[in-house]
């Protein structure tokens, strides 16, 4: 087995060679999120799975550093042994999901509105820029304003700025108690309730609504959860872990639909949007899943009008734009930033936007 140093060296040489040749590379971890983003055109595959392993885990510091090819399963199991977790609950979408792919996609699960998104937990990265140079940004400490915050910029950049080699994440203690509550509610009513509660000091850690039921999760220290339980007029559900896992992993029946799946990110309290299709609300109303065959522009316009944006998450045309198009000045800045990291445009070209 080649050592991590050797593997890193090989990856570096691959990127250097591609840089010289102007050869586009498609960066691939476990391939579990290959459906996400746009299709990359003709390219060579750069498989980063073999660059794996946990480098440092300090439970007392609430910090873990691992190589990008490490599976998220391995990381979560390691943390669980010490009663800790990735608080942003990243969706895996398969056992093969790697740390690098997870950070590059930047997706977060049901706990996100209450604890923060993935990018909040990224403390540092090591990466290969599009020139093959190995760069290190951020670190292992909670507060760090030395230099621009490149680590967080890489979260959700879909590998278009660099190849992630290592990531340091902040972790959190698992809550002592978690309970799930449910009640009947239509979307509009659920949105109001979820936002009313979110404005109160309650230990919320999840809230969804599918149009029929409102489901809420409470997490924390025993007494806080017990007290909140009494305040919410909802019924306690017995086995609840499976539900939140199914929401996170998109395993609910809702997600089995043939129609394209959209993710609308909007101000949480905005009223149900007037687009035909089926809806599932997560994040207390801030993340709305929609399966619809409505024209793309209709979906985008509705999200924008509500003050948010829409992503064609799964299915549909993966060669068109799947993310909300950027205003011209912003798009120009994106291209300049991309060129600052990847001057020849060889890393996942087109994965985020056609001309990026």
């Amino acid at each position: 087995m080649p050592s991590p140093d050797q593997i890193q060296k090989e990856l570096k040489q691959r990127v250097e060679a591609a840089y010289v040749a102007g050869q586009p590379l498609c960066i691939r971890g476990g391939g579990t999120k290959a459906f996400y983003g746009r299709e990359v055109g003709p390219s060579q595959m750069l498989d980063v799975r073999s660059y794996s392993g946990i480098i440092a885990y300090e439970p007392t510091e609430l910090v873990i550093t691992a190589r990008a090819g490490t599976t998220i399963d391995e990381i979560e199991e390691t943390l669980a042994e010490r009663g800790q977790m990735l608080a942003f609950e990243p969706p895996h979408f398969g056992e093969a999901a790697t740390l690098g792919g997870t950070v590059a996609c930047g997706l977060s699960g049901p706990r996100r509105p209450y604890v923060g998104p993935l990018r909040d937990f990224v403390l540092g990265i090591r990466c290969l820029a599009g020139t093959g140079k190995v760069l290190h940004f951020g670190g292992q400490v909670m507060k760090n304003v030395a230099g621009y915050d490149v680590s967080r910029l890489f979260a959700g950049a879909l590998g278009t700025l660099g190849v992630l080699l290592e990531v340091t994440l902040k972790v959190q203690p698992m809550p002592k108690l978690e309970v799930t509550l449910q009640g009947k509610a239509a979307l509009k009513e659920a949105i109001q309730s979820m936002n009313r509660w979110a404005g109160q000091p309650l230990p919320l850690s999840g809230s969804t609504c599918d149009g029929a039921y409102l489901t809420v999760r409470l997490s924390g220290n025993g007494s806080a959860v017990e007290q909140a339980l009494r305040r919410l007029d909802l019924e306690r559900v017995c086995e609840s872990g499976a539900y939140w896992l199914a929401v996170r992993e998109q395993r609910l029946a809702f997600f089995a639909d043939e129609a394209p799946l959209w993710r609308l990110s909007v101000p949480p309290a905005c009223n149900p949007l007037d687009v035909p299709g089926r809806w599932l609300l997560d994040w207390g109303g801030a993340q709305r899943w929609l399966t619809t065959n409505a024209p793309y522009e209709t979906v985008r316009a509705a999200a924008r009008e509500a003050g948010g944006h829409a992503t064609l998450f799964r299915g549909g045309d993966r060669q068109g734009e799947v993310f909300d198009p950027l205003a011209p000045a912003l798009a120009r800045l994106h291209r300049r930033l991309k060129a600052a990291f990847d001057p020849r445009g060889i890393l996942n070209p087109g994965r985020m936007y056609r001309d990026l």
């Binding site: 909670m142 304003v145 621009y148 007290q227 909300d324």
Partner: protein
């Protein structure tokens, strides 16, 4: 400043909003790091976003360096003018534009003071979490530019974790909207990149912040220690026990005594160090966790623990901490505040090293800091009028930061690099990394006009400082002239 440019500025702005006489310019000579001073050529105080755009276009056209300025409380010289350049003050941008209690957001202009955000949330039971000690003076624009923190950041995060959207004017005069009313936006996470960018990438003209529900109840414990090291170990032990306090601050004996003399907080002046540990939540939850925290504190060698008897006492305990910097200002001619952050497990070790360095340099050091985050604030006491003392203080400060980097930390946790920590940046980053920072800067500001010379050192400067990392036996950029 060329007269035609000043005339043009007077056409864009009202006459009183363009300051060009030397006496009035003096007020803008420095920020909170007053050892560094430079007289700007002109100071402008625009009132509208359109004016900011016009001013920046003018500067771009005439190649005039621009330094944005909030309240000027920065501690790293970030708002230090460029000699003869333009200072763009956001002092007139003080309007609260929109309060949305249901979505729990507030949209404000950048000159709004930090404290105002919590004040407007008050009636809805909401607050803005990052609370720098300077919160009654510093602006949200400055907070975003520095990614400022405060005593409650351990639990609630820094500025970057608590903002949703920005409006930014580029040096070319474009108005960008970064982020939106939702929890995320499409494209790169420019919100993260701009936060903490020290006015180098654009001028922030609007900020949307997130408000969060005020906890029902908060309680603070004051633990006294006979040994600084034991207090350091207690911090690591609390975090390790699975509790995340709302605040966990440490003060050494000198800080305790200075604060006590200043605000009479009720601190034990005999202790070698104290920890303030705040917990918040429901009363039962706080009581439960407070028992756990007390056990950890005693187990780590706390000599005495006092729980604030009531809200008034809790406020008093915090008043001492929040007044610590000015309190130290009363006992020393000048002080120089460092801002390194380290992994918490090295607290005891690094504090010991800091006190050794203090003796070696024969300059007293007072420690008062965000212990829960591992964010140190050694205050080096010196006398600016004593020949060579400032240089000695700077050299000592530099050594402290190098110790922080050596244990895996960083040279600045929340105050920014500014002009102050440029040399130490050469220790923390190698030439390729610094070159990458410069490339980011160029993507936003191709002419290098926004806050030039701050935050990221030139490679030449690092070469002169002699601390440039040499990678794999080779200097990076072998093809570049040897600086």
């Amino acid at each position: 400043m060329q007269a035609p440019v000043v005339d043009e500025l007077r056409r864009i702005l009202s006459a009183e909003a363009v300051i060009a006489d030397e006496e009035s310019l003096r007020a803008y000579e420095c920020d909170g790091l007053s050892a560094y001073r430079a007289l700007p050529g002109v100071v402008v105080l625009p009132d509208t976003v359109a004016q900011v755009q016009q001013i920046l276009r003018l500067c771009y056209q005439h190649h005039i360096p621009v330094v944005a300025r909030g309240a000027g409380t920065g501690l790293s010289g970030g708002a230090l003018p460029v000699r003869g350049g333009l200072v763009l003050s956001l002092a007139k941008f003080t309007r609260v534009l929109n309060i949305d209690p249901v979505n729990r957001t507030v949209r404000v202009e950048p000159g709004v003071r930090n404290i105002t955000l919590s004040e407007v949330g008050e009636e809805y039971g909401l607050f803005y979490a990052p609370d720098p000690s300077s919160q009654i003076a510093c602006t949200i624009g400055g907070n975003v530019a520095e990614n400022s923190g405060g005593v409650h950041c351990l639990k609630y995060g820094l500025t970057v974790h608590n903002i949703l959207a920005l409006k930014v004017v580029t040096i070319e005069g474009d108005l960008l909207t970064i982020g939106c009313g939702a929890l995320d936006a499409s494209g790169y996470d420019l919100l993260a990149l701009l936060t903490g960018s020290e006015g180098m990438l654009g001028v922030i003209v609007e900020v949307t912040v997130k408000l969060i529900p005020k906890p029902q109840y908060a309680q603070v414990a004051l633990a006294a220690f006979d040994q600084v090291e034991a207090a350091g170990r207690a911090v690591a032990a609390i975090i390790a026990s699975g509790i995340i306090p709302a605040g966990l601050e440490m003060m050494d004996q000198a800080a305790v005594r200075a604060a006590e003399a200043f605000v009479h907080a009720g601190y034990p002046t005999g202790a070698k160090a104290i920890l303030l540990c705040e917990l918040d939540g429901t009363p039962d939850e706080v009581a439960e966790e407070m028992r756990d925290v007390q056990a950890v504190l005693l187990g780590s060698g706390a000599a005495h623990i006092q729980i604030a008897a009531d809200e008034a006492e809790r406020q008093r305990f915090w008043a001492g901490r929040k007044a610590a910097f000015p309190a130290v200002g009363r006992i020393a001619r000048d002080y120089y505040c460092m801002d390194g952050t380290i992994p918490r497990r090295y607290l005891a070790e690094v504090l010991t090293r800091v006190s050794q360095l203090s003796s070696e340099y024969a300059l007293p050091i007072v420690n008062v800091f965000h212990a829960g985050d591992g964010n140190l604030h050694p205050l080096i006491l010196y006398d600016v009028n004593a020949p060579g003392e400032l240089q000695k203080a700077e050299a000592l400060g530099g050594k402290i930061l190098e110790v922080c980097v050596a244990v895996g930390g960083t040279v600045t946790g929340e105050h920014g690099v500014g002009v102050e920590k440029l040399n130490q940046m050469c220790v923390q980053f190698n030439a390729d990394e610094l070159a990458q920072f410069h490339a980011i800067k160029t993507a936003f500001d191709s002419e290098g006009l926004l806050n030039p010379g701050k935050a990221v050192p030139t490679l030449r400067r690092c070469a002169e400082f002699g601390a440039m990392h040499v990678h794999e036996g080779m200097l990076a950029f072998p093809h570049l002239e040897r600086f």
